[in-house]
Symmetry: C2
Subunit: 232 residues, 2 copies
DNA sequence: GGCCCGTCGTTTGTATACAAAGTCACCTCG
DNA sequence: CGAGGTGACTTTGTATACAAACGACGGGCC
């Protein structure tokens, strides 16, 4: 029944809810509340919260309370500074060590993707699944455990940032071209191009997120999602 | 008396002992043993071990036991792949945002350092303190919280790797020159040079560590420090 | 003699009970 | 009316008790 540990289940559940935005930034993460909610004791909840705090998804709030960490536009900019460093290096190593066939296939699928993005939410999900495939392929190809660990925690934050601002179809089409270029460079074993194309993609992605966030602020109340600027 | 939490004290103590090599790779980290040793309950020990595991300083051993993670030459090489990514970006951002005066001062002190490294262990410690000063200055200058977090956990691993192989005076003199160049580039606001000089330094540092490890294997028994690769 | 199964022991995982510490509100005093 | 302190309450931090899971060891059977 409960083949996995309770602390693991609680951790994943909370992590998913934070990334998906169901638990918005600033939401309080009380041990007793969560224990009651998940039907477990405080002990596994405590362990889950500690992990979330270590990853930066939760942070100490005003008193001794733990809250979902905020994600202001400045935070996103800073997050992407780390993302650029990690993903550039990942692409470089993948180009050095990866099997070309895998990335040639991915490049072709990314090249074909723009035509599929004309309509609908399911198309978007399918595209994100393809991006995840590329991430997995890069992880396997680079064969760099320490980098892989850092990337894993990073991606949760990136997913959260993406969730804050839904990409529009134009951006997705351009992203598909950027991804196709990255995959091609890796397949060619071109470390420099792979690294630089990734850096370009990360910058473009950041610009898109910030643009989306700025335009949304005009008519929608985004302050509810980004409540406290920076709690000390 | 115990103004800080017991879990924090245990965490720091274990972390220091792992980094310093007092707890060698492969050493078992039993909850009950550590609880008895530190005079606290299993609960804070458990929390400390979870943090160490999240940082990669501890890993699951053969059974359900937690052991100090191994650090083979391959591991060091992989670690430095992450280090290169993080520190290059850190230097780039520091060059972009840092105050030149701080780094000009550091550059001068690094330039003067080679003459001070002629003899003795205390000199080496003084030099490492200077390196730490540079790290702190870069952290402050880059103003990138996510990157800073990743760097913090990275540095524990790097310190452990450094501990495995004591640098010789020649290497230290060359490192001082490399550091001086990095500091100068940052002071000049030269992002490209700062980033590339850091990459060069990381590569040279890796080569020195691996060389040292290889030469030590000849006459000394290093297998005690890197015991089980993954033996069941 | 070798392999498989059962039992035992040691470990971690979870729950709960207890203690301390900080915060908030309210009351009192200046 | 404001500021300071003091009280209680709500939170986390720690300890301990209990349960379950996994590995190891030994004995029996093929």
């Amino acid at each position: 029944m409960a083949a996995v540990r309770a602390s693991e289940r609680v951790y994943r559940a909370l992590r998913d809810e934070i990334v998906s935005g169901h638990l918005p930034p600033g939401a309080e993460l009380s041990e007793v509340d969560q224990a009651g909610l998940r039907g477990v004791s405080r002990t596994p909840v405590r362990e889950a919260l500690a992990r979330l705090q270590a990853e930066g998804l939760a942070a100490v709030g005003k008193g001794r309370t733990l809250v979902v960490s905020s994600l202001s536009p400045e935070d996103v900019a800073h997050l992407f500074e780390l993302r650029e460093a990690l993903e550039s290096q990942a692409a470089r190593l993948a180009a050095r060590r990866g099997a070309p066939a895998v990335f040639l296939d991915l490049a072709a699928r990314f090249a074909a993707a723009p035509g599929l993005l004309d309509d609908g939410d399911p198309e978007r999900e399918a595209y994100y699944a393809l991006v995840t495939e590329l991430d997995v392929a890069i992880d396997a190809a680079m064969a760099s455990p320490y980098l892989e660990r850092s990337l894993a925690t990073l991606r949760a934050h990136v997913a959260r940032a993406r969730r804050l601002s839904r990409d529009n179809p134009d951006r997705l089409r351009r992203a598909a071209q950027e991804h196709a270029l990255i995959a091609t460079a890796i397949a060619d074993g071109d470390e420099v191009l792979a690294s630089q194309a990734t850096a370009v993609h990360v910058r473009a992605s950041l610009a898109a997120v910030l643009d989306n966030l700025a335009s949304r602020t005009e008519h929608d109340d985004v302050t509810r999602l980004v409540p406290t600027g920076a709690a000390p």
